[in-house]
Amino acid sequence: MAFVNWLKRHLVVIAGLITLGYLLLPNIVVTVFSFNKPKGRFNYEWQQFSLDAWKQPCGVADMCGSLSISLQIATLATVGATILGTMIAFALVRYRFRARGAVNSLIFLPMAMPEVVMAASLLTLFLNLGAQLGLDDPDRPHHVLPQLRRGRRQGARDVDGPAP
């Protein structure tokens, strides 16, 4: 009976921890399998412990070069989205103006768009312009921006008290 009571009281904690386990399981698997010595090309089955994969982090062709490009794009996207998003959030929370509704829906629309649609339309744009896809991937801030705006909006609202 005592156990049942204990279980009842901690049900939320147990359920929450199970979810946390579900979230972390793949990361644990990835970490464990980074010490694996795969037989063939695929690293799906455990063979034996080895540090091979960790010895040459730049061993795979282009690995470190790609990493630096990823970081560059991520930094650019973050800075861009922060600046644009904060400005929009400020305008929307602190001011009342006529185009507010229109701006709100223009910002919501990209969020309501599945990524594959967004990527497909950007691809169409570039195909039509005949442009080559290069380092400068403008797709990223575009996705981050609406999300960020929401965070900012929340923040700005906290400062300002409850918004109408």
């Binding site: 939320v12 698997v29 929307l92 594959v116 497909a120 039509n128 575009h142």
Partner: protein, 307 residues
């Protein structure tokens, strides 16, 4: 109910700022760069795509706008099973995310105490690895002779899921169950974070008050906590359902040809078959379907404001 006693005294209501009179153009100047960005990288591509969807022609001869709206009808009649599948997988994943995410968000908001920050970090930690790698890890976890499938088999759960049509034979991989599990996993943080934001704002003393009025814990949850967390539920479900409906990575890596979602079809049409008009039409149908569902949902849930 440990958090209740620790609740800080009510902060004095913030003073209202006087309305601004000067600078009527200021908001427009603030909006200008962001809106320009959205026009160039969102509105313009959309217009291009709309025009692509009504073009006919071939890759060699080039495409021309011929207002060929039949593409939409053809795409829909050919790919409606994938549409249906996308919506049902995304809905299943959203419900699972809510069921799994709510307890964790509640735990972080009310019961975690000094562990709160650590658990928050652990929720965000998966993002530090590429989601492709994490999805591939599910291939290992759900492998045919792995411990998960063995356990499910021994507990006769697979028989039940087979009967429901979620799995086939002794496998979990390459079945709808695997795809829904992958979707749930990948979008779970997007559910937990807005839920947490909403729950965290609830004054712990409301729980205390409900208890004083003889509400049992479950009644308190049903009448106080859950209604107050509705904004988080709505934005969490939207942030899960919308990307899940368009997702193609999970169906690609964890599914089979029988679990193809509409995202897979769009991706194949665009990149492999190079049938741009059909791909564009499919994209627009998906977008319209999601907009209709989202609008309906927001109206129904009565939360006009999304955050």
């Amino acid at each position: 109910m440990a958090a209740v006693t620790e609740a800080p005294p009510l902060a004095p209501a913030p003073e209202k700022k006087p309305p601004r009179k000067r600078g009527r153009l200021v908001p427009y100047w603030l909006l200008l760069p962001g809106i320009l960005w959205l026009i160039v990288f969102f509105a313009l591509p959309m217009i291009y795509q709309a025009s692509t969807s009504v073009q006919t022609g071939s890759l060699e001869e080039g495409y021309k706008v011929t207002w060929h709206f039949a593409t939409y009808w053809d795409a829909l009649s050919q790919y409606w099973p994938q549409f249906l599948r996308s919506v049902s997988y995304a809905a299943a994943a959203t419900v699972l995310c809510l069921l799994l995410g709510y307890p964790l968000a509640y735990l972080i908001a009310f019961r975690a105490g000094r562990w709160r920050n650590l658990i928050m970090v652990l929720v965000i930690a998966p993002f530090f690895t590429s989601f492709l790698i994490r999805t591939l890890a599910w291939k290992t976890i759900l492998a045919d002779n792995g411990p998960v499938v063995h356990t499910l088999n021994n507990l006769h759960i697979l028989e039940l899921t087979n009967w429901l049509g979620w799995t086939a034979g002794d496998r979990v991989l390459a079945t709808p169950l695997a795809v829904v599990c992958g979707l749930t996993y990948n979008f779970l943080p997007f559910m937990i974070l807005p839920l947490y934001t909403s729950l965290e704002r609830i004054d712990g003393r409301l729980h205390e008050a409900a208890g004083d009025l003889y509400a049992k814990p479950f009644t308190t949850f049903r009448k106080v906590t859950f209604p107050l967390s509705m904004p988080g539920v709505v934005s969490g479900t939207l942030l899960t359902f919308i990307p899940a409906a368009g997702d193609y990575v999970n169906a690609d890596l964890l599914g089979s040809t029988d679990t193809r979602m509409v995202g897979n079809v769009i991706q194949t049409q665009f990149l492999r078959i190079l049938d741009y008009p059909t791909a564009a039409a499919l994209s627009f149908i998906l977008m319209a379907a999601i907009l209709v569902m989202v609008t309906f949902y927001i109206r129904k849930s009565g939360t006009e404001d999304l955050v």
